[in-house]
Amino acid sequence: MHNAHDSSLPPVGTQAPRGAVRREAASPVATLRLEGVTKSYGVGTPVAVEVLHGIDLTLQHGEFAALIGPSGSGKSTLLNLIGLLDKPNAGRLFLAGEETGALDESTLTKLRGRAIGFIFQYHHLLPAFTALENVMMPMLAARGAVDGAMRERAADLLARVGLTRWREHKASDISGGQQQRVAIARALAMDPLLVLADEPSGNLDTENADAVFDLMRDVNAASGTTFLIVTHDPRLAHRCDRIVELVDGRIVSDRPNVDVVRRG
């Protein structure tokens, strides 16, 4: 186990983690940068609560980071902010160098669709659609209508997650592990800068959880997509390159995972 407050570890960003090395040179702009981000609920009411207090966080291109913390620490809120599903009350959020605070709803939605892939705990596939259609869906929403290239890319992505055989099956007719693989393929459909995974293996047995995790690592290694994974599972967190720990709405520790870095 790592000591969350080990001050001998180098600060974030000074030493690029494994996956990011070769892309750092090509892309000097951080994939994600949060500066003093604060989020409160119930502003203007007597029960206003500040959930996140001045969060500073930078994710470089190609990083594979874990976000850990106890329940109620603000992980989901932070993930929603990073995923552009919500707006901070204060502070600034940059995605690939672009400040998102001033963007209107429609531009934010388009940016979210293009730049961010989501993997949820309960996969959240659309049950009425097949595995292939689920993977096509982000492309379909962005381009407006189905085309052959879209179908081809979705089929390729499903092949990559080992589900070619199941692509015409309804999302509700395949196993939990398979559904989560479809969700990974879907998250990659738009070739996003950043994939946000909220407890991606929380609903799976150990074997499937490992398989899903390995898949994400493979994608990260192969295409350099940045991953931020929220997890309760210390075993999985310690297989990430970097571990960010959030307690009571503050980052209490942010360090590279020495085990992985050394192995890498």
Partner: protein
């Protein structure tokens, strides 16, 4: 671009397929509503057209007559006039003053399709011992048939009345025991008598008209009624029978003539028809409202059921406008397919009605024309109602906060 390859259409149809029972139930509900509206409208239109046709068979939409003769008080004011009683004058048969000019002016008016001079007055038809009172109408065959479709109503003989010819109704022919080619003596109050040959027998489908109306040449009637060169009325046909009163008012305004429209002379029928139209409109509005509420409630439930999916779609970059359209398409589809099914249903009922609603002699009670335009209007209307009813649920769906929706 193929509309069925579009994101919104694909998602809308898949959502509807997922809730198939719900979708089918509401489509069936819309079908019933649309069917009732179409059936009732066709029936009412048929009934009205039938009555209008029957009335206008033997009556021109507008009739221009000489003004009534009024008895005037000789001295105005003064003590003697206080007790004076003025008796209304009896009306003589008179010609419309300068009828040729009036005829020309009216023929030029917008909305007027045909005009014809007529000389009409009372008379007696006699054959042997039998005498019947008749209404003599002198016609100018060149223009009269453009106003009244008499040739279509001829059941025996021909319609080209010459100076010594007469066309009589089927009832009169029966009463006097006459057939085409027989001679008939026509006498008028002026004491003029003429023997004419029956060249045609008509049937207007109205016993009174078949019994009383007889048609002779204009010149013959002028002689019989002692109105040489005159015309007692000018009959006017208009493009839209329901605009007759409006046109009549315009004519009335420009002259001192008496102008009657068929709407005025059949006031009772028109008030009954207005009541019927009002009742039908009310029923249509309420049925439409019920259909709209049905669609809206199904979609409201659907938005709640699908909120998680909507949240996921939004997280994946689906815009609010796209979500809005997904639900508007569902509303439009439910309205349109419901109306199409309703049109089929109504069509079936109308065919059934044609078969069942018959009078005692086996002829159809009245002809219900199945107008394609009515079906088209119903389908377009139902689609619009569908879209409007979907507006509120669609807005709700579009405004869902994706973060909240995904959390459930």
């Amino acid at each position: 671009m193929n509309p069925f390859a579009r994101f919104e259409t694909i998602v809308a149809f898949r959502f509807m397929r997922e809730g198939l029972t719900q979708t089918l139930l509401i489509v069936f509900g819309v079908a019933l509503g649309a069917g009732v509206i179409i059936f009732m409208s066709a029936l009412l239109a048929g009934l009205q057209a039938n009555i209008v046709r029957r009335t206008l068979n033997f009556q021109a939409p507008i009739e221009i007559l000489a003004p009534d003769q009024i008895a005037r008080q000789l001295r105005d004011g003064g003590p003697a006039s206080v007790a004076a009683q003025i008796q209304p004058r009896s009306q003589q048969l008179r010609s419309v003053d300068q009828w040729q000019k009036v005829l020309g002016d009216v023929a030029e008016m917008p909305g007027v399709t045909a005009v014809t001079p007529v000389v009409a007055g009372p008379g007696f038809a006699r054959r042997g011992e039998a005498t019947k009172s008749v209404s003599i109408t002198g016609i100018d065959i060149a223009s009269f048939f453009d106003v009244i479709a008499l040739p279509e109503k001829i059941v025996a003989g021909r319609d080209d009345v010459g100076p010594l010819d007469i066309i009589i109704g089927i009832e009169l022919a029966k009463d006097l025991g006459m057939a085409v080619g027989d001679k008939l003596s026509l006498t008028t109050a002026a004491g003029v008598a003429s023997t004419l040959t029956v060249i045609g027998i008509f049937d207007f489908g109205n016993k009174g008209a078949n019994e009383r109306n007889v048609y002779v040449a204009l010149r013959t009637a002028q002689n019989l009624l002692d109105l040489p060169g005159g015309a007692t009325s000018i009959e006017v046909k208009v493009h839209d029978p329901f605009a007759a009163e409006k046109i009549a008012q315009i004519i009335r305004g420009g002259t001192d003539l008496e102008v009657d429209s068929w709407i005025r002379t059949n006031a009772q029928f028109f008030s009954a028809m207005s009541a019927q139209i009002l009742a039908n409109t009310l029923i249509r509005v309420f049925v439409g409202l019920t259909v709209a509420l049905g669609i809206a409630s199904v979609l409201v439930v659907s938005v709640v059921q699908k909120s998680k999916e909507i949240g996921i779609l939004r997280a994946m970059g689906t815009e609010r406008a796209q979500v809005l359209r997904v639900f508007l398409i569902q509303g439009a589809f439910m309205g349109l397919t419901g109306a199409l099914a309703g049109a089929l249903l109504a069509w079936g009922f109308l065919l059934l009605w044609r078969g069942v609603a018959r009078s005692a002699d086996g002829t159809p009670l009245f002809v219900v024309v199945i107008e394609p335009s009515l079906f088209a209007i119903a389908c377009v209307g139902a689609t619009i109602v569908g879209i409007l009813s979907a507006a509120i649920p669609a807005r709700r769906a579009a405004r869902l906060d994706p973060a909240v929706a995904i959390r459930g």
